[in-house]
């Protein structure tokens, strides 16, 4: 089941999606992280962020609305405590990053590039509540490309950049093309959909409700850019969902909301995919 993602060898194609695996420690209680293809951290910003007001998560049919506001300890505490622990687990650690400016992105990339054990960087280019969180607002594909270029320029060559794009059927191909030209090794399609909380606050919508849309975005990118490496994400809950995305041409997948419903979801999916292969052998 091993796979190559932007030069990065993964034991299997199943990664934990950003923001859905806690610090890793919580998830590790339900299964070794080393059994997974990789772990994507919640988005780390240069300075600590306290996050937004409650409610942060609201249930909606087959989905979750979330407005956590990128709560995270900031880069330094992350490098001092969370990252070394994750690296020790023997899993591929992909650090998701978000910044308020191009300079901030570059600064984060420089410091992460010097940290031992970072397997890849995922640039969060599509935070569904970006305008209210002060994150660099990526509205146009060229904004996304300039962020990717800034990060790519300041990273050692061995660390691939993954660009996480908005689940926007109309613009996703153009976005994918520009970030790949700017140096991204792969595109992650797609992030939570922009949505609103019942009280009107900006939020993201994730879960099985968005899966068909994510799949449509994947198929659009695959058709237009046959050489692009794609990581599929959006409402994947079962091994069957993974097979569907793999058949649509993704190299790897990320499991997000499913973990909030069942903390063993990623491990279960990996086991199911593995038993498939053993059955076939």
């Amino acid at each position: 089941m091993s796979t190559d993602l932007g030069g990065l060898a993964l034991a299997n194609p199943v990664l934990v999606a950003s923001g859905c695996g806690g610090t890793g420690r919580e998830l590790a209680a339900y299964g070794a992280l080393s059994e997974l293809g990789g772990f994507v951290t919640r988005s780390i910003t240069l300075n600590p962020r306290a996050g937004g007001p409650l409610p942060r998560i609201v249930e909606t049919p087959s989905g979750l609305l979330h407005a956590v506001g990128l709560q995270n300890p900031g880069l330094e505490p992350f490098l001092a405590t969370e990252l070394p622990w994750l690296v020790q687990q023997g899993t591929r650690v992909v650090v998701s990053i978000a910044g308020g400016s191009l300079g901030e992105y570059a600064e984060i990339a420089r410091r992460l590039g010097r940290a031992p054990g970072v397997a890849a960087i995922e640039v969060n280019l599509s935070s569904p509540d970006a305008p209210t969180t002060g994150v660099f607002d990526v509205r146009e594909p060229f904004h996304a490309a300039s962020v990717v270029a800034a990060v790519h320029r300041d990273l050692p060559r061995g660390i691939p950049v993954l660009a996480k794009l908005r689940t926007d059927v109309v613009r996703v191909v153009e976005s994918a093309r520009t970030v790949l030209e700017a140096g991204a090794a792969a595109v992650v399609v797609g992030n939570a959909l922009p949505a609103a909380m019942p009280d009107g606050r900006q939020a993201g919508l994730s879960g099985p409700a968005v899966r068909p849309l994510a799949l449509r975005c994947v198929t659009e990118v695959r058709a237009a850019l046959p050489d692009a490496q794609i990581v599929g994400v959006g409402g994947i809950v079962t091994a069957d969902d993974v097979r569907t995305f793999l058949a649509a041409g993704v190299t790897a997948v990320q499991i997000g909301t499913a973990l909030l419903h069942d903390p063993t979801a990623a491990a279960r999916i990996v086991a199911d995919l593995q038993s498939d292969r053993e059955g076939a052998a």
Partner: protein
């Protein structure tokens, strides 16, 4: 955590449980479940998260009320459910034999005193549930146990009769005066703490009750342990949906998670005023 504790036995499990029975008691339902491995790991103050179908992704969390053998089953879980929404109504409508995904025991339990000191346990509504097994453990340690059981009315008093068997003295408080003293927990605490010469106060209930218990404990020079209940989505520490502002032992203010870092916190560490504001919505 002391070195003698086997860390594996302290990690939560995710299992398929089976409903043994649902019994209506006053305003609540007592749900009895077989959930292999979870009762053995239970400590008072921990809780479980249940799934309610594939399209409702947020978990429903309940205090563990009792752990006891039933029929041929070694140990079962008894939970107290207040049917207030579609998820909880779905659970209280389950027939014996129904399967349900259970994760637990989750969270950090009440800390037990090393010495046989006088303890006052304050419970309000269904949240009184974990105080009964707590009372048992405290009595095993030679602690004098005084109970305060509160609720909106008689129907919302949890097991007040049983309370008389669990404690040296019981004070019953209802908001409408239908049983016991009329008023709130705050009205009786000074008197109860004085009479019991309390050294530790344990509290479970709505925020106002917890805050009152923590404040009364502080006035009387007692320690307090408060079980903070927040709306939870994943319940496993992954989603950051349940922030609680606390002051750490280093004096630094930080946001922790009710589910994974709590639910039990030292009452003097919680920033109650900020918690109330954050919980408005």
């Amino acid at each position: 955590m002391s070195q003698a504790v086997d860390p594996v036995a302290r990690t939560p499990l995710h299992v398929t449980g089976e409903v043994l029975g649902v019994k209506k008691v006053g305003a609540y339902h007592h749900l009895t479940l077989v959930a292999p491995g979870i009762p053995e790991r239970f400590r008072p103050g921990t809780f479980v998260a249940l799934s309610v179908g594939e399209s409702r992704l947020a978990r429903r969390c309940f205090w563990i009320h009792r752990v006891k053998p039933v029929g041929g089953y070694g140990a079962t879980l008894q939970l107290v459910v207040e049917a207030v929404g579609p998820g909880t109504r779905c659970l209280t409508g389950l027939a014996p034999g129904a399967r349900v995904e259970v994760t637990g025991p989750l969270g950090r339990p009440f800390a037990l005193p090393k010495e046989p000191v006088s303890c006052v346990l304050v419970g309000d509504g269904y949240a009184t549930a974990p105080l009964f097994p707590l009372a048992e453990r405290l009595r095993e340690r030679g602690c004098a146990v005084t109970l305060v059981v509160a609720g909106a009315d008689e129907a919302h008093l949890l097991s007040a009769l049983e309370a008389r068997r669990s404690a040296r003295s019981v004070t019953v408080v209802t908001a409408d005066g239908s049983v016991g003293r009329r008023g709130t927990v705050a009205d009786v605490l000074d008197e109860v703490l004085d009479r019991a010469a309390a050294e530790v106060v344990y509290a479970a209930g709505p925020l106002a009750t917890l805050h009152a218990a923590a404040a009364a404990a502080e006035t009387h020079g007692a320690w307090s342990q408060t079980a903070v209940e927040r709306p939870l989505s994943c319940a496993t520490g992954l989603c950051q949906g349940c922030p609680v502002p606390v002051v750490g032992e280093d004096g630094v203010s930080r946001l922790v998670r009710a589910c994974a870092d709590g639910p039990v916190f030292r009452g003097d560490r919680v920033r109650w005023a900020d918690l109330t504001v954050a919980g408005l919505a």
